[in-house]
């Protein structure tokens, strides 16, 4: 008998007052009892509309069916058949616009908590140590993957499952890409990312760190070395700035730098770890996306008063509702319809304030979002010591520069069709390097499709 509750079981969370002072995970996860109760809300629809909302086609009703009897390991196996990184997806996928947006239960009430159940299954199975994947039969085929973020890991996992020998080349000293340098510990514990990556290693995937594509080697050299296919999942690149005065002052970070210092280099433990971070007592974060929320919540945990400054209204913010909600709960101030016009420094070149102007929404732009227009005479000064710019990235130039016959878009992204095939033979690409900044799961979907294309093209 289905559980006909109109709402999903709330996620147990650390108290906002407590968590805004630590970097431990905010969401604590369902217990077995809660998971079984929530699983019972699933109607197991024959046509499974939820699956059509999943970029990697997880058989959602089937894994939830296993959870109805509390069988996390069976559920995990079902998810793993389609998704290489379940514990990560259960945490950072925007389920509300994907699987859960298609859930029949969502028509009259809240959809089934698919993401939370996925997380429960993965965490439980991985904790019991049964998450290991048998090493598939070796076919002797070789592929190289550039970048060990979500796109690269997924592509590597799919190819390894098919018995290919896969080598991942990672530029940083730790594998995981944005999962380790970008997404904070309190949203995605790094130990968990390591475990997911260890699972891939156990399947035979080799990861070479400190290897920068376009510098230490080129795509053509990989092909010449005998890799039958090369997948490029090099992610997003150089941070964008607003081009307002004062962006070079001490105390202005790109979100990439701020988050990398904290997440990859563990600057929040300074001086235990050697990488420093400087934050001051008041911080402004410019932008309205998930990265802006992550940066703001990190700054809060370092003890600062934090304002998010966004030029449109909350309705236009691209961040997930859940992230906005969490940020607000933690005491982050939202200054909507506000645009920075200049960052002002003291006599030593450190930030002392940011000039802002209020905006109002005018006519819709070409993408249908109402364009913000400055309100004359509404300028004011916001006293801050740190400004974090979280307004997106431009593609990394290194691979483009050294692979002249790889077609790229005018804005610098790599051209690839919906299956990840680029204009260069045996070269595939996916994730932010192709689409510009997007989500973990879209990158995973792209990695998965590219792996399928590689297998189809190399029978």
């Amino acid at each position: 008998m289905a559980n006909m509750s109109m709402t999903k079981h709330p996620m147990p969370e650390q108290d906002p007052q407590v968590r805004s002072g630590n970097f431990q995970e905010v969401a604590l996860g369902y217990t077995r009892e809660i998971a079984m109760e929530e699983a019972a809300r699933c109607l197991h629809c024959k046509n499974a509309p939820c699956v059509s909302g999943c970029p990697v086609n997880v058989p959602i009703p089937d894994f939830i069916e296993a959870l109805k009897t509390g069988d996390a390991e069976k559920a995990y196996g079902i998810i793993r058949s389609q998704n290489a990184l379940p514990a990560i997806c259960g945490r950072v996928c925007p389920q509300e616009t994907q699987c859960e947006s298609k859930c029949v239960r969502g028509i009259k009430g809240e959809p089934v908590g698919i993401g939370r159940l996925e997380r429960y299954a993965a965490d439980t199975a991985m904790a019991s140590g049964s998450a290991g994947q048998a090493k598939p039969a070796d076919t002797g085929r070789k592929a190289a993957v550039i970048g060990s973020g979500p796109a690269g890991l997924t592509c590597a996992g799919e190819l390894a499952k098919a018995g290919w020998r896969v080598t991942i080349y990672e530029a940083l000293h730790t594998a995981g890409g944005v999962l380790v340098y970008g997404i904070p510990e309190f949203r995605l514990p790094k130990a968990l990312v390591r475990r997911e990556i260890d699972t891939l290693r156990a399947m035979g995937v080799e990861i070479i760190t400190n290897a920068v594509a376009g510098k230490a080697f080129t795509v053509d050299e990989l092909l010449a070395e005998g890799y039958e296919a090369v997948f490029i999942g090099s992610g997003a690149g150089l941070p964008n700035f607003q081009k307002i005065p004062g962006e070079s002052l001490c105390g202005v970070y790109s979100a990439n730098e701020f988050l990398t210092r904290l997440n990859l280099m563990k600057a929040y433990t300074f001086p235990e770890h050697d990488t420093p971070i400087k934050i001051g007592s008041r911080v402004a974060v410019i932008g309205g996306g998930n990265v802006a929320m992550d940066a703001a919540r990190c700054a809060k945990r370092l003890g600062a008063e934090v304002s998010i400054v966004y030029r449109r209204s909350e309705a236009e913010m691209p961040a997930r509702k859940e992230e906005v909600h969490h940020a607000r709960e933690e005491g982050i101030e939202f200054r909507m319809l506000t645009a920075p016009t200049a960052i002002l420094g003291d006599e030593n070149g450190f930030v002392k304030s940011m000039s802002c102007i209020r905006m109002e929404l005018g006519e819709p732009d070409e993408r249908g979002r109402r364009r913000p227009v400055p309100v004359a005479g509404s300028e004011y000064e916001l006293p801050v010591e740190t400004v974090i710019v979280a307004i997106g990235n431009s593609p990394n130039p290194l691979i483009k520069k050294t692979t002249p016959d790889l077609p790229t878009e005018k804005w610098g992204g790599i051209q690839a069709d919906e299956n990840g095939r680029t204009g260069k033979k045996n070269v595939y690409a996916g994730g932010d390097a192709v689409t510009g900044a997007a989500t973990v799961i879209l990158a995973m979907g792209a990695g998965k499709k590219a792996a399928a294309a590689i297998l189809a093209d190399h029978p």
């Binding site: 530029a171 940083l172 000293h173 340098y181 760190t209 400190n210 290897a211 920068v212 510098k215 230490a216 080697f217 992610g235 997003a236 690149g237 150089l238 941070p239 700035f241 081009k243 962006e247 070079s248 002052l249 001490c250 105390g251 970070y253 790109s254 990439n256 730098e257 990398t260 210092r261 990859l264 280099m265 563990k266 300074f270 001086p271 235990e272 770890h273 050697d274 990488t275 420093p276 971070i277 400087k278 030593n348 070149g349 990394n396 130039p397 290194l398």
Partner: protein
Amino acid sequence: MYPIIQKRVLNETVTLMKISAPMVARKAKPGQFIIFRIDEEGERVPLTIAGTDPEEGSVTIIFQKVGYTTEKLDTLEEGDALLDFVGPLGEPSHTEGIRRAAVIGGGLGVAIAYPQAKALHDAGAEVDLIVGFRNEHLIILEEELRAACTNLIIMTDDGSNGHKGFVTQALQAQIEAGREYDAVIAIGPLPMMKAVSEMTRPLGIKTIVSMNPIMIDGTGMCGGCRLTVGGETKFACVDGPDFDGHLVDFDEAMARGRMFRPEEAEARKKHLCRLTGEAR
């Protein structure tokens, strides 16, 4: 891991190390840099490459003990290893077509000026190599320097080697004596590179400087190494580290370099006891 295969103390604060890093050695060219990390808690520190031996698979770095990480690096010996060593990063120096050059090195910058001078000299260019140190005890690599140029001028701030003055004064003297240069290449502390650029600007001599700002990944991701060059934002890691000295906003670069001074001092103080085993 990246083993240290040779260590040579050049003076009381400057040390040379040859690191086994075949992937870097295979591709590195003058002007490029590496990033190293000593251990799991370590920070990522960029250093310009001072030399490579592709056959041996080694990369030479020369560093000055200026902060916690370089102090710690200096405690490592031959046979020890670095946890991470990535490169080559940045664009190689573009020195094609330069027939007559003044290569200027200040302090630790001498270590980087050396391979530049050598590459130019090996390519048949006439090279005046002008290097500066605080005093004669700090002079490094004299033999190597002499072999890498047409004309070596060593200046000391205190005149203890008999040539008192700054590298800019020596360059000025050379130019006044009638030397003509296709390019001046200046590598060293920001105030030195700024002074050289200011000197050559009115003379219209092309001047190349090598920037070494704060950076983390070094691959075009963090944006920490941004500089203003000719009014545009440039990233030292992917657009540089070499730039036209007449276009670089040195004052801004100097201010940005001060960002983490207090934290660096804190780290150094906190860790000194760990390094030396003494209470301070």
